[in-house]
């Protein structure tokens, strides 16, 4: 590993290509922590937006008109307004009202910028997931649901054991598109000072004046992250495919 680090130092000395994040331990740690924050942020948002999608799609099938309208309002609001302003709205407008605790001399709010980024981005992506799962659920034939009902399944159990597994397979390709979008949207967390990759890269090029090099690194890392996600989702899609079922 040290040889690789030294090679990057040599690259800088000989050719002026300053990839400081490889040969300087401090900058390396800083960049890796940013990368990890981006990954955590993405995973947390993927997880919660997924939950929101499943629960929202279930609520949308509710018999109560009121519940359906609430879900519909939520979807339309988050779909049709700029995500950056949503993030600001959560962080600045709602963040003011969160209770804080005593963290040894200063007041620390219970939900920090990372937490608000997770909440805001999950709601943003969740709005799309609800619609995606909804369409998947509609794809399940009513005869299948009736069969489950006649076997004594309750509405919830039918949903969990019969409808969702089938709907999920239909929804996966659409979900894939949305999750790629979500990973790209995590850069917005920069705006509320979440120390994710964009943010740390900004610190690094401010200290080392190596904007072009860091830009290339940033692009490559995002492309690799998106590529990994797409690859993983495709693998998963193939793995859980029921032969003959699905588009």
């Amino acid at each position: 590993m040290d040889a690789v680090y030294e090679w990057f130092r040599w690259l800088y000395d000989q050719h002026g290509i300053n990839l400081v994040i490889f040969y300087e331990p401090y900058e390396r740690e800083r960049f890796v922590s940013g990368l990890m924050t981006t990954i955590y942020l993405s995973l947390a948002c993927l997880f919660f937006s997924f939950i929101i999608g499943v629960v929202g799609a279930w609520l949308q099938g509710s018999r109560l008109r009121f519940t359906r309208q609430i879900v519909q309002g939520y979807i339309q609001f988050f779909r049709n307004t700029p995500p950056l302003i949503q993030l600001y709205f959560f962080y600045f407008a709602l963040g003011v009202y969160t209770p804080s605790y005593d963290a040894g001399g200063w007041r620390e709010p219970i939900i920090g910028s990372f937490g608000w980024a997770v909440i805001s981005l999950s709601f943003f992506a969740g709005a799309f997931n609800v619609e995606i799962f909804r369409a998947g659920i509609e794809a399940v034939p009513s005869a299948t649901i009736e069969a489950a009902e006649s076997l004594g399944y309750s509405r919830l159990k039918t949903y969990i054991h019969v409808v969702l597994p089938l709907a999920f397979r239909v929804s996966l390709p659409a979900l894939n598109n949305n999750l790629v979008n979500l990973v790209k949207t995590t850069t917005l967390a920069y705006a509320i000072a979440v120390p994710e990759m964009m943010y740390t890269a900004n610190q690094i090029w401010s200290d080392n004046v190596n904007v072009p090099e860091m830009m290339v690194v940033l692009f490559l890392v995002y492309i690799v992250l998106v590529g990994l996600l797409v690859w993983g989702m495709h693998r998963w899609e193939r793995a859980i495919r029921i032969p003959g079922y699905g588009a």
Partner: protein, 292 residues
């Protein structure tokens, strides 16, 4: 990348599955999600705004010139000035992005493998990079002035923002063009060939005229998405609506009760602008799909 309409293997699935598959395909070739605004969303936003502002107003009590509505009223011209810049950025980025994207899209269906592969890579690169990173790249790597002969032309920040936004738009329009060309049945190509049209003639006189109609709805949808993305420029210090809102809030001593009404006001401006576009897109989409 065969036809536009993936087929299901079995008839087990209801039409909804087919619909979803088609929506996915459209999203992939047309790019991005479709905005679907309705008038009642505006009403909801308005109600939320009035509630937030009213609650804040009630908290402050009767202070002349300090009320939420009075304060907001004072700042409206300032905020609208910022929003004009949002619109200018969106017009510029859309114009540049469309021009470049059309070229890139046609390059994607070129018969020359290097051109085809190169333009495909460029398209995928700019489609899959986060917008904010692209914006940063242009902002920081672009010179702040250009020297042509003796004349020094300064490039203000918002011009760089226009260029930064035009890149992802270019890539997505490229996909729209490619998708539209490929959605024309191959029989058209073959019959044109049998009538001795050259490839260029077929493309310009037969295929593209039909594509224009199909490209208009996704093109407008991309315009709406772009308009909603322009607030990103505020992160880089371009003085558009969001940036000016933050400045206005600071000038008002960052009074917390003003936050929610001001941001909701912003959302309403964006809504009022994007709503007619989204409606028109839906209308055109419906009209064009029926004829098909």
């Amino acid at each position: 990348m065969s036809g536009t309409r993936p087929t299901t293997d079995l008839a087990v699935l209801t039409p909804a599955a087919d619909r979803l598959a088609r929506a996915v395909e459209a999203e992939r070739s047309g790019g991005g999600f479709a905005l679907r605004l309705r008038a009642r969303h505006g009403v909801w936003l308005g109600i939320a705004f009035l509630l937030a502002a009213g609650a804040a107003e009630a908290q402050i009590g009767p202070l002349p010139d300090q009320g939420v509505f009075a304060t907001l009223w004072r700042w409206i011209p300032f905020l609208l000035k910022g929003f004009t810049l949002n619109l200018i950025i969106s017009f510029g980025a859309m114009a540049i992005g469309t021009a470049l994207g059309a070229v890139l899209g046609l390059a994607q269906i070129s018969l020359l493998p290097p051109v085809r592969v190169g333009s495909w890579i460029a398209t995928q690169f700019f489609r899959n990079s986060p917008w904010l990173v692209l914006l940063f790249a242009i902002m920081l790597l672009f010179p702040y002035e250009i020297r042509i002969g003796d004349a020094i032309i300064p490039i203000p920040d918002w011009v760089k923002a226009v260029i930064g936004f035009s890149l992802p738009i270019m890539a997505n329009i490229s996909e729209v063009v490619r998708g539209a060309v490929q959605s024309i049945p191959s029989g058209q190509w073959e019959s044109a060939e049998s009538l001795a049209f050259s490839r260029r003639q077929t493309l310009w006189m037969i295929i593209l005229p039909q594509c224009i109609k199909r490209m208009i709805p996704p093109w407008m949808n991309w315009y709406a998405i772009l308009t909603m993305a322009t607030p990103l420029a505020s992160i880089l210090g371009v003085e558009e609506a969001v940036n000016l809102t933050q400045q206005a809030l600071v000038a008002e001593d960052s009074r917390t009760e003003l936050l929610a009404p001001f941001y909701l006001f912003l959302l309403i401006i964006f809504f009022l602008y994007c709503y007619p576009i989204a409606r028109l897109t839906q209308r055109l989409e419906r009209r064009f799909t029926v004829k098909n």
